[in-house]
């Protein structure tokens, strides 16, 4: 079995988000980088599928030179090799992103055979467009099922489970197929130290595709109100009562 999982390097935001001076990007000076929780589940699923069925897993990203960190992270978990579509760090719209990913998939598949499954996260953690997976599937002419909490290959098909109110919708589609997955699909493992060490030796194929014309323009970013609030512990037990009363008075509710 051959599985490709696509990921995106995004800032690891645990605190209050601050925009760069031009409001066109997040200020990332103090931030680390990661991939979205959906994609983490996608990576884990790819690793498990290959562990169970044999074959090859590949991770792909479109992003700056530093995005190789996220590729290594995925390989540390057991992904076999990586494809890095290097950008200058600017944000690409979903259409352009999908277009170069499609090209890369075609190139890779022409050399190594079709991917039975191409896995995306449901949406990226930063721009949240929900588009790239579907656009890739459409361009490749392959079936796509989105927002999955279950992915089970059965012979030449894959059983796809979406969580819906009251239960699960199940789709069975033939492979090769494209799926987008959601957090909760599985519980991703931590990388082992030997896994980390192996990751450093695994191959990364890097290319720098030309950027197609953008069809979606970023005007500016806005931080939603209320972001960055945090809880304060006023005390515990009966001793906290006066502090609670103080606070209620302060905010004018008593």
């Amino acid at each position: 079995m051959r599985v490709l999982v696509c990921v995106k390097r995004v800032p690891f935001t645990g605190g209050k988000m601050v925009l760069a001076a031009d409001s066109m990007a997040l200020e990332t000076k103090h931030l680390g980088f990661t991939i979205s929780p959906h994609e983490e589940c996608g990576v884990e699923e790819a690793v498990r599928l290959i562990e169970a069925n044999g074959g090859e897993s590949v991770v792909l990203t479109l992003g700056p030179a530093e995005a190789v960190e996220q590729l290594r992270d995925a390989m540390a978990l057991g992904i076999d090799r990586a494809i890095h579509l290097r950008t200058d760090g600017s944000e690409w719209d979903p259409d352009a992103t999908a277009a170069v990913i499609v090209d890369a998939i075609r190139t890779d598949e022409s050399a190594t055979g079709l991917f039975d499954l191409i896995v995306f996260g449901s949406e990226s953690a930063d721009s949240g467009g929900y588009q790239v997976g579907l656009r890739v599937a459409h361009a490749l002419g392959r079936p796509a099922v989105t927002g999955l909490k279950g992915v089970k290959p059965e012979g030449g098909s894959v059983r796809c489970e979406q969580e819906v109110e009251g239960g699960r919708d199940v789709y069975v589609v033939p492979m090769p197929a494209v799926v987008t997955v959601k957090e909760g699909l599985n519980l991703p493992r931590y990388p082992s130290v030997p896994g980390r060490m192996r990751a450093g030796r695994k191959p990364v194929a890097t290319s720098a595709p030309a950027r197609p014309a953008a069809r979606l323009e970023l005007v500016r970013l806005v931080v939603p109100p209320g972001q960055g609030r945090r809880a304060e512990v006023l005390g515990s037990g009966a001793a906290a009562a006066p502090a609670v009363v103080d606070m209620l008075r302060k905010i004018g509710v008593v």
Partner: protein, 850 residues
């Protein structure tokens, strides 16, 4: 306004308008300082933090929290041991034991040095154990790659956040402390050089005492007051791997000894069901305080930066080698990985004490969890009593010279020091970065003489001159050679040759590193009297060597004072203690403003000329009277040397006839050249500081600050009491009078080594700080529990012995007493050669008076 009760949560408490002291920072250090201030009787103490409690987001919150007891630094060991006592008392210490393992032969030798340091500082039990014994204690280690370990059963782990909470709550319960969290300091007001007010996001607090215990933020907070705290935030990488099957049933945080893999600059410790792996091996990664994010913008805590995996690649390999069972387990995952931010200083020691920049502004910075409570206690004692029980001179914030406060210096030295965290650091090891900062005016001459430069307070000072290698032949057998690489490192037999040339003819010394300051004004006499043990009301033209006492009668310093006029005194002290001595004098200037201090360090240079031919040499350059009658020992006055007006002071730290010659710095080269030329016919040799500071000094049993002279020992113990005590008041007088009435607990003695032969047959030479034992290997300690150790060690070429100094209990401080010194894992026989301060060489002091 609501006073906080003992609950420990005070997030809505408003600050008071006035406080006796404001302590900024609720990490382990701030909590400790605040607690101990209250315990010592201060009230109206306020403890602030910009973050939430109990973990406000500083380095305490991500500390690995383990404590090893033994350090080569006596001061650091004392602070650590005291901290462990406090952690134990609070019930937050879990003893686990710790093993420092050696992968190399050099490290095994280093571990024998650690055994020595443990004995010198009285840390027991400790032992050197075999790989198999390490394996018994740490079953998951691969013992085949190690040669052995240094085992300290007393090592353990603390809950530093809990300790902080306990200390806060105790102080709050006493009603002396108010704690205010989530409140940031935005300004510190200073008036007339003294701190006045702390302005916070919640209001102003008037205070005459402010303590900055802000960890990595300390430089930024200090700058608000116009002060400097020379430290840099730096990365320490840590990862946490688990779950470890072997630890599945762990009942506590730690049940297996902590391992320090010294040769790879790493450690591994159990943390519950996981294993924590930390490293000091990566490239130094330094930041500025401004790089640390505000709390609300930090993904984890402000001092937990994103992990940089590429910096940890080699470390993973090293951890895997040592602990393959755990680290190599595919099911054990890296659960957590951070670049933790901690504080590094240019010399590796904390930054403690009152700022020399602003009165009332105290620093408690660059302190790690292992020494936190001990440091808090010591600093509080210093603030309340004017002195701490543990001598903190190596950590004194006043120690820094100006260039040492620059960002570039701090970063250069912190980067250089970082990878030495677990390093094998030779006691004489020199820094490589930021050298050639302060050059003597005759530096070029010294370079041509092939000087081997050592650094002293930023000055490049010759330790010896390679061009003097020709003297080796001249003195032949009288010069002891060393074959051991360790003792030959940062040393040369040429030092001994220069020594003999001085003793037989004359030596010329570069003393540029002296710190020199004048006290001038109608209140000058009163000012210098106040801080000196010896009588300063002497005729103009006298020089006086004097101890400077701490309030408890220990040694704050020792230095020379010249009376140059009725209202004019010149103080000359060493480079290392120069800045803190200057602050001490400045702090004790006459309160009415009638005396002023002027720093002449960069205006004057000093050349030393000593030896039996010194007079002839000096006389040939001057028309002034330099005869014994015309220029008596202990006197100073201006003479003309050619066209240079020289302040000549007849004094000696090497025990020979001669002078210290002070000239304006730009004429230093001229003076050097004239003396050099004049000395030729007399066989004058340029002599390095190896003679001045070690061989010449030790033969004369002269004491040195930081070696023999520390606040922990008093004048009587050091054998330096004068027949009478001056009637004038001075700091430490009461204590000194008391010491004179007591039987000393220890007596400073000079010992010589009877046999240098090691088991391998190689001759070995102690370098200092080794423990003194009985001949059968038992520890020697005085009635106050202080273990005897070598305070100074070095060759005595004129007496043909290797000389050691040590404080001994009175029963052992007996001439001819046979003892032993432990060095590199072996015992060597030594004998007490001098009790007290009588010189070994020229005991009548005929030479200096000749």
């Amino acid at each position: 306004m609501r006073r906080t009760s003992g609950a420990g949560h005070s997030t809505v408490s408003d600050p008071p308008t006035h406080a006796r002291a404001v302590v900024i920072g609720c990490g382990i250090v701030g909590n400790s300082v605040a607690y101990h201030l209250c315990r010592l009787g201060w009230r109206d103490v306020v403890l602030l933090d910009k973050g939430p409690l109990p973990n406000p987001g500083g380095s305490t919150g991500h500390a690995s929290n383990f404590i090893y007891l033994v350090d080569h630094s006596k001061e650091m060991t004392a602070l650590t041991v005291d901290s462990v006592d406090q952690y134990r008392e609070m019930g937050v210490f879990t003893q686990s034991g710790g093993i420092e393992v050696a992968r190399t032969k050099e490290r095994m030798q280093e571990l024998t040095r650690r055994m020595s340091s443990a004995a010198s500082w009285g840390i027991e039990p400790v032992s050197l154990i075999s790989p198999a014994e390490v394996k018994e204690l740490v079953p998951f280690i691969d013992e085949s790659i190690i040669r052995g370990g240094f085992y300290t059963p007393g090592v353990g782990v603390v809950d530093s956040l809990r300790a902080g909470t306990i200390m806060r709550e105790r102080a709050q319960a006493s009603g002396a402390l108010q704690v205010i969290a989530n409140t940031e300091v935005i300004a510190i007001d200073v008036e007339h050089g003294r701190v006045r007010c702390v302005r916070t996001t919640a209001g102003e607090i008037a205070a005459e005492t402010v303590v900055i215990s802000c960890g990595v933020w300390s430089p930024r907070v200090a700058r608000m007051a116009g002060a400097h705290i020379p430290l840099t935030p730096a990365v320490h990488q840590m990862i946490d791997v688990g779950p470890v099957p072997r630890f599945a049933g762990a009942k506590g945080d730690i049940e297996v000894p902590i391992v320090r893999d010294m040769d790879t600059n790493m450690y591994e410790r159990q943390a519950g069901g996981d294993l924590e792996i930390g490293s000091y091996a990566h490239r130094p990664i330094l930041y500025d305080p401004e790089d640390i994010p505000p709390i609300e913008r930090a993904a984890l805590s402000p001092t937990e930066f994103p992990f940089t995996q590429p910096d940890f690649e080699v470390q993973m390999q090293h951890a895997l080698e040592l602990m393959p069972e755990i680290v190599g387990d595919e099911k054990v995952g890296v659960k957590y990985a951070i670049n933790g931010i901690l504080s590094l200083t240019p010399d590796g020691m904390p930054v403690l004490g009152e700022s020399p920049d602003v009165r009332g502004l105290w620093s408690a910075a660059a302190v790690w969890v292992k020494e936190g409570p001990g440091t808090g206690k010591a600093l509080a004692e210093w603030m309340v009593h004017g002195e701490s029980e543990i001598d903190l001179h190596s950590s004194d914030i006043a120690r820094f010279h100006e260039h040492q406060k620059t960002r570039a210096h701090v970063r250069a030295r912190a980067a250089e020091g970082f990878n030495k965290t677990y390093g094998i650091v030779h006691p004489s090891e020199q820094w490589a970065s930021n050298r050639n900062v302060r050059l003597a005016p005759f530096h070029e001459r010294e370079r041509l003489l092939e000087a081997m430069f050592f650094e002293a307070a930023g000055w490049e000072r010759p330790m010896w001159y390679e061009s003097n290698s020709r003297l080796l032949e001249e003195f032949g057998d009288r010069i002891t050679r060393r074959t051991s690489e360790w003792e030959s490192r940062w040393w040369s037999p040429i030092i001994n040759a220069e020594h003999l040339a001085m003793r037989e003819r004359a030596g010329l010394f570069d003393l540029s590193a002296f710190t020199i300051f004048d006290i001038i004004g109608p209140g000058a006499l009163e000012s210098v009297q106040k801080v000196t043990l010896r009588q300063m009301e002497v005729p103009v033209g006298r020089n006086v060597y004097t101890p400077v006492l701490s309030p408890n009668g220990g040694f704050k310093s020792d230095l020379t004072v010249m009376r140059l006029g009725d209202d004019h005194f010149r103080v000359v002290t060493g480079g290392a203690a120069g800045m803190s001595d200057k602050k001490w004098f400045a702090d004790h200037l006459a309160a009415d403003g009638t005396a002023q201090l002027f720093d002449l360090t960069s205006a004057m240079t000093t050349v030393g000329l000593w030896g039996p031919r010194a007079r002839e040499i000096l006389a040939s350059t001057t028309g002034d009277d330099v005869t014994n009658d015309g220029f008596k020992f202990g006197s100073c006055r201006t003479i003309d040397v050619g066209t240079v007006r020289v302040l000549a002071s007849r004094i000696s730290y090497v025990g020979d006839l001669g002078w210290e010659l002070y000239v304006p710095i730009e004429q230093g080269m001229r003076l050097w050249d004239m003396l050099w030329e004049a000395g030729r016919p007399f066989g004058l040799a340029a002599c390095g500081i190896g003679v001045y500071g070690t061989t010449g000094r030790l033969e004369k049993c002269y004491r040195a600050h930081g070696n023999e002279l520390e606040t922990e020992y008093n004048v009587v113990e050091a054998g330096m009491q004068a027949p009478r005590v001056k009637s004038e008041d001075f700091v430490g007088k009461e204590a000194h009078l008391r010491h004179r009435d007591e039987e000393p607990a220890a007596v400073l003695c000079t010992l010589t080594v009877d046999d240098h032969t090691s088991k391998s047959g190689e001759k070995r030479y102690m370098l200092g700080r080794e423990p003194i034992l009985t001949r059968d290997g038992k520890p020697v300690a005085d009635r106050r529990g202080r273990h005897s150790y070598v305070t100074s060690a070095g060759a005595g070429p004129s007496v043909g012995k290797h000389i050691l100094m040590a404080y001994l209990p009175p029963e052992q401080a007996v001439l001819g007493e046979r003892l032993a010194v432990q060095y590199m894992g072996e015992r060597y026989p030594v004998t007490v050669a001098v009790v007290g301060s009588t010189p070994l060489f020229d005991p009548e002091n005929a030479r200096v008076r000749s």
